[in-house]
């Protein structure tokens, strides 16, 4: 494919011919030299190759994370080549943003690009198009169809020290203390020796202190350890930024994290933290219960959860949805914006079933600037109803955790939930 000539060549040659004619008519050497110069200048940039074999390619490099921040940087290299092109017009378009054009020197060039994003999950990061331009704009050639840099960004896992546990850990072994006697846990009590007790467990000091008759033996009993079942249930009905005005206008490219980004981060952070403690974690989304990841633990399960959480996007919820099934005595973590009644209903069902429920509020921090009066009034109504729902959830006995808060506040809330369970 060859470049298409622009009218610049014809214009240059035509002007040159006019000047030559005037030079011959009036005997002016300056016009003659100028006319010839224009003709030669226009003719010299026309080439038979004109960018044939032009190429545009993009190579994406590994994602870089900016410390503990949510912002990510995706480096890429845009390679362009167009034989005999003197300039290459690079057009880059980030989602929701205007196209930026940059003219770089040809004929072969490699441009390093860094795309910043605050979003996780599957996304189009950048659309790239290029145009080769011949000398003095004599011809132009599009470098093939526009190419898009796509990436699946894994959500960021925040370090969590304190984790809430269910009322009664039901597993057989794990990292948490179970209320029943067994091996591996903390000290439970001193108990008279009974058939089945191992001789190693005999506490000779306690026997000497407590024994009344010869043959009395006392054993030192410990608590059993247990893993727990954690059911992560993600409400994927909304995908909203914290800018209230965007809820009406639906601006997707505001460069701010959305509720789905917060939900993915919360789900993955909690899943990672529980898996690190060898607990059983399951994951399901409300709109697609068939895509649930059943309970499990270990490295392969961690990868399965990571990909399942990363691909979650906002979906229309079905009118008649089935209640997600969670393992018996599991800790249910419900991640939602609580902008409708369904999560409240589900929390009530699980509480009635005896589950401990953690309601994670994934709405990003709200920004109310530049709202019109009617938008302000509407937002007050919506946010008031949401506050009522969260109050209902608390009244049911569920704990509410605001995820998009200061890290210290989130850690303090988690610590309070952990102590609350110990007191109870």
């Amino acid at each position: 494919m060859r470049g298409i000539p622009t009218p610049a060549t014809v214009a240059g040659i035509s002007t040159g011919v006019i000047l030559l004619a005037a030079a011959l008519g009036f005997g002016r050497v300056d016009l003659a030299v100028t006319g010839i110069l224009l003709i030669v200048g226009a003719a010299s940039v026309m080439s038979s190759r004109r960018g044939s074999g032009a190429q545009l390619r993009i190579e994406r490099e590994p994602v870089r994370r900016d410390g503990e921040k949510r912002r990510l940087e995706v480096p890429a290299r845009i390679g362009m080549s167009a034989p005999e092109a003197e300039a290459l017009v690079l057009s880059t378009t980030a989602p929701g943003r205007r196209t930026r054009r940059t003219v770089v020197a040809g004929p072969i060039t490699e441009v390093p690009v860094r795309v910043r994003t605050v979003h996780s999950g599957d996304q189009d990061l950048l659309t790239v198009d290029a145009l080769a331009v011949g000398g003095d704009g004599a011809w132009t050639l599009g470098l093939g169809p526009a190419q898009t840099v796509r990436a699946r960004i894994d959500p960021h896992a925040r370090a969590l020290r304190d984790l809430p546990l269910p009322r009664v850990p039901a597993g057989l072994t794990g990292a948490h203390d179970a209320p029943r006697p067994g091996d591996g846990g903390e000290f439970r009590d001193i108990h008279p020796f009974a058939p089945g007790d191992r001789l190693q467990r005999i506490d000779w000091k306690a026997t000497a202190r407590l024994g009344r008759r010869p043959g009395d033996l006392y054993v030192r009993r410990t608590l059993a350890t247990s893993d727990i079942d954690v059911a992560l249930v993600l409400d994927d009905g909304d995908d909203l930024t914290g800018v209230l005005g965007d809820w009406v206008r639906g601006d997707p490219g505001s460069g701010l994290p959305t509720s789905m980004d917060v939900a993915r981060e919360a789900a993955w952070s909690l899943a990672t933290a529980y898996l690190d403690r060898a607990d059983q974690v399951s994951f399901q989304v409300l709109s697609r219960l068939s895509s649930a990841v059943p309970r499990g633990s270990g490295a392969r399960h961690r990868e399965r959860l990571r990909s399942a959480i990363a691909v979650v996007t906002a979906q229309q919820r079905m009118v008649r949805s089935r209640t997600p099934i969670v393992p018996a005595s599991a800790l249910v973590v419900l991640l939602s914006t609580f902008l409708d009644d369904e999560p409240v209903r589900l929390a009530g069902l699980w509480r009635a079933g005896g589950h401990r429920v953690i309601a994670v509020d994934v709405l990003p921090q709200l920004r109310t600037e530049r709202l019109r009066r009617e938008e302000m009034a509407a937002s007050r109504i919506v946010l008031g109803a949401r506050a009522d729902r969260l109050a209902d959830v608390r009244a049911m006995g569920a704990d509410v955790l605001v995820w998009d808060a200061e890290p210290g506040a989130r850690a303090a809330a988690l610590r309070a939930m952990t102590r609350q369970r110990r007191r109870g």
């Binding site: 622009t6 610049a8 060549t9 214009a11 240059g12 035509s14 002007t15 006019i18 000047l19 005037a22 030079a23 011959l24 005997g27 002016r28 050497v29 300056d30 016009l31 003659a32 030299v33 100028t34 010839i36 110069l37 224009l38 003709i39 030669v40 200048g41 226009a42 003719a43 010299s44 026309m46 080439s47 190759r49 003197e86 300039a87 017009v89 690079l90 880059t92 943003r97 054009r101 940059t102 003219v103 770089v104 020197a105 040809g106 441009v111 690009v113 860094r114 795309v115 910043r116 994003t117 950048l126 331009v133 000398g135 003095d136 704009g137 004599a138 011809w139 460069g255 920004r367 530049r370």
Partner: protein, 170 residues
């Protein structure tokens, strides 16, 4: 709410693309040194229209108007400036046609056009100066300066075309 740029492109030193169009108008402004004010204003206006709407080709019209206005002037060393202006307007006009008006222009992208401009401009200036000097010689009556310039230039064109054709066949 200010937004940080989401896409960072590392291409070194750049200038806004509109400066290329502004440069065309500035170059046309140099015509005030060559021709009377009414003609110079027309040249600048035509160059400005060409900068805003390149598809009108008024940049080349500005060259033609400047050349015709030159006819009313005596032939002297200022003709070298005319050669510079006309050539610059042609190059800038061509780039205006092909490049968008908004965006950034890598300064290195101007190196090739500048090099070619010099390669054509320097011999042309030499030719023009020789032709101007030849006017004072006794051979002036035998060989009109314009005819000499035209013959020489036609030779250059033939040579260039031959070079290009041979280069394309390689």
């Amino acid at each position: 709410m200010t937004r940080e740029e989401d896409v960072q492109i590392a291409v070194g030193r750049t200038v806004p693309l509109w400066t290329l169009r502004a440069a065309g108008v500035v170059v046309a402004g140099a015509s005030f040194f060559l021709v009377p004010v009414p003609y110079a204003i027309i040249v600048v206006v035509l160059a400005a229209i060409g900068a805003v709407v390149p598809a009108t080709f008024t940049t080349w019209a500005a060259i033609a108007v400047l050349a015709l206005a030159q006819l009313g002037q005596t032939l002297d060393a200022w003709a070298c400036l005319f050669l510079v202006i006309a050539h610059l307007l042609h190059v800038i006009g061509g780039l205006q046609l092909a490049l968008p008006w908004n965006g950034r222009l890598q300064l290195r992208a101007l190196a090739s056009p500048a090099r070619r401009w010099l390669m054509l401009q320097v011999p042309s200036q030499v030719l023009l100066v020789l032709a101007l000097l030849a006017r004072g010689l006794p051979v002036n009556g035998l060989l009109p300066a314009g005819a000499v310039a035209v013959a020489t230039a036609v030779g250059i064109v033939v040579m260039l075309v031959l070079v290009r054709v041979l280069a394309a066949r390689r």
